[in-house]
Amino acid sequence: MRTADVKRLMDAMAAAGVIEVELERQAEGGVTERLRLLRAGPEVALGAAPGAASVTTRDTAEPAVVTSIADVPAAPPLVDVVAPIVGTFYDSPAPDSGPYVKVGDRVQTGSVLCIIEAMKLMNEIEAEVAGTVAEVLVKNEDPVEYGQVLFRIDPG
C-alpha cells in the first residue's frame, strides 16, 4: 500500500465522516498488508474522549501487531531562523572577518546572525529571540531560498 493510497483513504475518511478503517489483504507475493486508521471523532472535538488518532501500516508476511502510536516525544523547543528573502548567505560581515555567530554562542534579540545578499544589497538577518545558537544549517556563500531554515536557536 502506497503512502498516496493511505493519504487518499484519510482524506476520504474525513470527507465521509468515517472514523475507523481496518483493512487486511493478501497482496502480491504472499505479503499480508494491514492498515488501521483511527480518526478522532466528533466526540473528541467536544472534549468527551481522549481517543488517540493513529496510523499504522505494515508490509510483512508475519502477523502485524497494530498498536496506537502514543507518547510522541516532545519536539525540542528550538526556534527556527528562516530566510525572509532569496539570496546568497554570508556568515560574516567581510571575507576576512570571523562569523557573526557559531554553535554555542549566546545571542540577544536583534543580534545580527548573518547577511543575505540579494541583487547586490546586503540584508542583515537578526535574531528574533534571545538564546543559544544550537545549529547552523547553511554554509558561507550558499544560495538560500525563501523560508529556508538558516539557524536553530535554543531559547532556554
Partner: protein, 445 residues
C-alpha cells in the same frame, strides 16, 4: 542556446516553458511560492527555488526574490510566462540590469504598447484601424463630452488594464457616472493606476487576434489568427484557430498586425487583438506583449513551437522565420478547463484533485499541471488544464473535442467541462455564429 533559465511563473505555463526548454537541452530552475511546492513544474524541475509566500505580491510578483533566485542559481535568462510580471516593464528592465535575458520584448516596448491609449496612437501611426476612442480622460466631464461626440453605447477601459478589470460598457448618459467611478476604482485596485479612456462600443463583435513574432529589428512574421470570442465576463473560455472569417479579411487583419509590430520593431511573441464587426470592419484594440494562454491552437494549426521560438530568439539565434514557411493546416480548438462550478455561477472550486484521467488519441493535446493527489491552491488563477483538439475541419475538431471532454475525468473539484460540453453542443456555436456576447446571449441556462 542557454544552458539554464529561470521560470518565473507557475501552473500550466511554467510546465509549458519547462517542456519547451527541456526539449532544447536547457536546464530549468522553477521559482515557486510556498503552497506550490508540490506542483508539477516543481516536481519536474531540474532545480526549484522557493521565492515567497502564497500571496503573489511576495512571490510571483516579487522582483527582488525572482532576480535573486536567477542569480544564485546561475540562470542566464528569465521566462515570465503570462500574467504576474510578464508585461511589467520594470521587471524586464531589472533583468537586463542584472545581465539576465528577459525572454520577451524590450522594456520600452512593453511600456509603450502596454499603455492602451499609447497603443492606439501607435496603431494609427502604423496605419492600423482603431475604434473611435479618446485620449486619457481626466474626469467624468471629459468622459461625458467624448461619449456625446461618438454616440452611445461606449466602453470605458483602464489604460493599464487587462482581463476585463476596469472595464464598463455604458449604454446611456444616465449610467455614465456610476460606471466611470466604479471602473476607476477597480483599475486603481488592480493596476495601481486609475487612468481611463473610452471607445465606441461595437455590438456583437468577434474577438480576433493575430499571433506575431518579431526579431526586434523590424522583421515580423505572423502566425495567422485566433478567434477568442467565446468569453464570459471578459474571460476567454474557448479559443480556436483559424477564426471563421473569409480569407481576404483574414489576410488584411494579419497584414495590419505585422505593420504595427514592425513599426515598433517588436521582439519575440506578441498578439494584436482586434474586434471585427458584423460588416467586416476590423479595429485594433490592444497588443499583448507575452505568450498567451491560447497559443496552443496556433501551434496546432501551424505546427510551430512558439515557446521554443521565444527561447531561440532570446538566445540570439540568427533570425530564421519566413512568412512563406508559415501555413495553416486544419482547425484547432482549446477548451480552458477551470476549477470553477458552472452550476454555481462559476464559483472557484480549489481543493484536492483525487483522481484525474486525461483524454488521448489522435489530435488531442493536454497542457495541465494537475495530477491525482494535487491540491489546487485557492490563491491563484482557476485554470487547471487546456485541452486542445485538432482536426482537418472545424466540424471534426468540435466532434473530437466533445469526444475528448467526455473521456476526461477530474474528481474532487468542480470544473467547467459540463459548460464546455453545452457550448460545443450549441447550434449557434456549431455554425460559427460566435461573438463576444455569445455566452451571455446564447447560453442562458
Amino acid at each position: 542556446m542557454f544552458k539554464k533559465i529561470l521560470i518565473a511563473n507557475r501552473g500550466e505555463i511554467a510546465l509549458r516553458v519547462l517542456r519547451a526548454a527541456r526539449e532544447l537541452g536547457v536546464k530549468c530552475v522553477v521559482a515557486y511560492s510556498v503552497p506550490d511546492e508540490t506542483s508539477l513544474p516543481v516536481l519536474l524541475a531540474d532545480e526549484a527555488i522557493c521565492i515567497g509566500p502564497a500571496a503573489s505580491a511576495g512571490s510571483y510578483r516579487n522582483v527582488r526574490n525572482l532576480l535573486s533566485a536567477a542569480i544564485v542559481t546561475g540562470a542566464e535568462a528569465v521566462h515570465p510566462g503570462y500574467g504576474f510580471l510578464a508585461e511589467n516593464a520594470e521587471f524586464a528592465e531589472k533583468c537586463e540590469e542584472h545581465n539576465l535575458v528577459f525572454i520577451g520584448p524590450r522594456p520600452e516596448t512593453i511600456a509603450g504598447i502596454g499603455d492602451k491609449a499609447n497603443a492606439r496612437r501607435l496603431a494609427r501611426a502604423a496605419g492600423v484601424p482603431v475604434t473611435p476612442g479618446s485620449e486619457p480622460l481626466p474626469h467624468l466631464e471629459a468622459a461625458a463630452a467624448f461619449a456625446k461626440e461618438i454616440g452611445y453605447p461606449v466602453i470605458l477601459k483602464a489604460a493599464a488594464g487587462g482581463g476585463g478589470r476596469g472595464m464598463r460598457v455604458v449604454q446611456s448618459p444616465t449610467d455614465l457616472e456610476r460606471s466611470f467611478v466604479n471602473a476607476q476604482e477597480e483599475a486603481r485596485a488592480a493596476f495601481g493606476d486609475p487612468t481611463m479612456y473610452m471607445e465606441k462600443y461595437l455590438e456583437e463583435p468577434r474577438h480576433v487576434e493575430i499571433q506575431v513574432f518579431g526579431d526586434g529589428e523590424g522583421n515580423v512574421v505572423h502566425f495567422f489568427d485566433r478567434d477568442c470570442s467565446i468569453q464570459r465576463r471578459y474571460q476567454k473560455m474557448l479559443e480556436e484557430a483559424p477564426s471563421v472569417l473569409d480569407d481576404g479579411l483574414r489576410a488584411a487583419i494579419a497584414e495590419s498586425a505585422v505593420r504595427l509590430a514592425s513599426h515598433i520593431r517588436y521582439r519575440g511573441a506578441g498578439t494584436c487583438e482586434y474586434l471585427v464587426d458584423r460588416d467586416g470592419g476590423y479595429f485594433f484594440s490592444e497588443m499583448n506583449t507575452r505568450i498567451q494562454v491560447e497559443h496552443p491552437v496556433t501551434e496546432m494549426v501551424t505546427r510551430v513551437d512558439l515557446v521554443q521560438a521565444q527561447l531561440r530568439l532570446a538566445s540570439r539565434e540568427p533570425w530564421w522565420l519566413r512568412q512563406e514557411d508559415v501555413r495553416v493546416d486544419g482547425h484547432a480548438i482549446e477548451a480552458r478547463i477551470n476549477a470553477e462550478d458552472p452550476e454555481k455561477d462559476f464559483r472557484p472550486s480549489p481543493g484536492l484533485v483525487s483522481d484525474v484521467h486525461w483524454p488521448g488519441g489522435p489530435g488531442i493535446r493536454v497542457d495541465s499541471h494537475v495530477y491525482a493527489g494535487y491540491r489546487i491552491p485557492p490563491y491563484y488563477d482557476s485554470l487547471i488544464a487546456k485541452i486542445i483538439a485538432w482536426a482537418p475541419s472545424r466540424a471534426e475538431a468540435i466532434a473530437r473535442m466533445e469526444r475528448a471532454l467526455r473521456e476526461t475525468v477530474i474528481e474532487g473539484v468542480a470544473t467547467t467541462i459540463p459548460f464546455h460540453l453545452r457550448l460545443l453542443d450549441n447550434a449557434f456555436y456549431r455554425r460559427g455564429a460566435v461573438t463576444t456576447s455569445f455566452i451571455a446571449r446564447r447560453m442562458t441556462s
